[in-house]
Amino acid sequence: MIRLENIKKIYHMGETDVHALDGVSLHIKPHEFVAIIGPSGSGKSTLMNMIGCLDVPTDGECWIDGVAVSKMRDNQLADLRNRKIGFIFQQYNLLSKLSAIENVELPLIYRGLSQAERTELAKEALKRVGLLDKINHKPSELSGGQQQRVSIARALSSKPSIILADEPTGALDSKSGIEIMQMLHELHSEGNTVVLITHDLNIAKQAERIVTIKDGLIVSDTENKNDRNEASL
């Protein structure tokens, strides 16, 4: 599903080179629920960018569904993100001038689907997150938790291989946070691959597998057998 081989990412900041990732190898299998945890500056955001095909590595190779990414052009990366990755961001990142359903339709527009197909898929995704009654609401008319559910619906609408959630509960109150995590669990149990990026150990503990990253290197990679029990607590 996702294979990273000795990934290096070096940013040139003026005179000095910053090694954001310093040789990371990681293999995520289908239907896994993986949490990537690390403090800020650890390189976890850079790692997310690699997995999410938002950026290409300086060295090493990254495969998404068997497709090598490092030599891809911008447009090929865009298509790959469109088809394979469903993003969930901390700040929801909805377009404020569009309604909920228009936001959910957005990835489908770039795939080139017709209006009829888009409406069908977007409604299906909004139904899945329980917001079918709010499809014409603007983001500003929705609560934080609801906005995050719209963004989950947007991630789901294109039926991606991987759901990539970057601090999905970071901007939410604890009750909404629990709801969102519940939803990720459900998506996982329905057979989706979920990759969760967080700095919060309590959130990370809910995943099947916890990958800890520090100073651009993976320092631990452990199975977490009790994830379901803890989540249901």
Partner: protein, 395 residues
Amino acid sequence: MKFFAKINQSVKMAMKSILGNKARSALTMLGIVIGVSSVILLTGIGGGTTKAITDQISSMGTKLITVNTNRRGSTRSVDYDDLSEYVEDNPELFSNLCPYISGIAQAKLGSENFQTSLDASDEQYESIKNVELISGRFISEFDCENRAYVVVVGTYIQRELFGGMNPVGEYIKLNGKQFKIIGVYDETADSTKNSQDNKVTIPYTTAMRFLKNKKISTYYLEAKNEDVVDMAVSSVKSFFARKFGSDSGFSVTSVSVIIDTMNEILGMMTTMLAGIAAISLIVGGIGVMNIMTVSVSERTREIGIRKAIGARTTDILMQFLIESVLLSAIGGTIGILVGIGLGPVVKSLLNLEFAVQMNMVIISFAFSAAIGVFFGIAPAKKAANLHPIDALRAD
């Protein structure tokens, strides 16, 4: 199909963005509106003036060719019969011919005595010069053959000597000779003494005897149609050159030559006006570029989100390019309507002629759309080339 669906979607998004910022969009369009409407207005005034002047000249007859021979020595003249024969031999170039003599005569009726301009021709003059009579008839072939003492008078004479009554059948003395009035010209000016309405026309044969002028110095020829005027002019020139044995001593002019020259001058003026107006259109275009640049910086995060979920570089480029083209095209359309709407106002306020130039409507619309592309491409490229990560990080 996929491409058109995407374009359609881009247009929808662009409309949304334009309508979402109504005040700003309106101000941006204003530059284009002013530019386009002034192009429409100025070219309309230019076109209207050109048409008015051309019509005036055309009323003299676009097929008319005038030949003047300078009265210099008796050897240099062309006989009417010779020219008639030549015209008849070239029916593909000429359809008509008449001689023309002009002079001054002393008119007298009862105690009234005044000077009037006298001209003389034959029956063809009526159709060649589009003569319009309000009563009676024009000089006939019969009058010319018989050197008849008949006269067609202007409305000044009708008013002054006959108190506005129909003078046909009455007599008037010209240079002491009695002439029978056979017709009255329609009024061409204001029927006053110094206008073109103070005139008389007699048969040319009568005039040659009466004025003691044996030579016809002027001929009017009518070309078969407008397309052959130029050829007819050169044909007549060569005929006279042959007769005269030189290129000098005569002149051949045609109204269409005058119109061509006038059109050229007025066309240049109109182009100059349009050029000045186009400068404001370019200034409007810079306004569009300015707003698009601001719009791109404001929407950096939106661009990042769109790119993250799969928008290609071209999708973003098209989105912003279509937005700027729509802005300027809508501005252009409004400008065209404003220009056409203001035309009659300018016409009545400034007493200028105005005729909408359809080609300029199309050109200025296309030009404003092109301005949208030209001034939109740089901001759109800037947006399209943003890196998704950098764009997402923006506030």
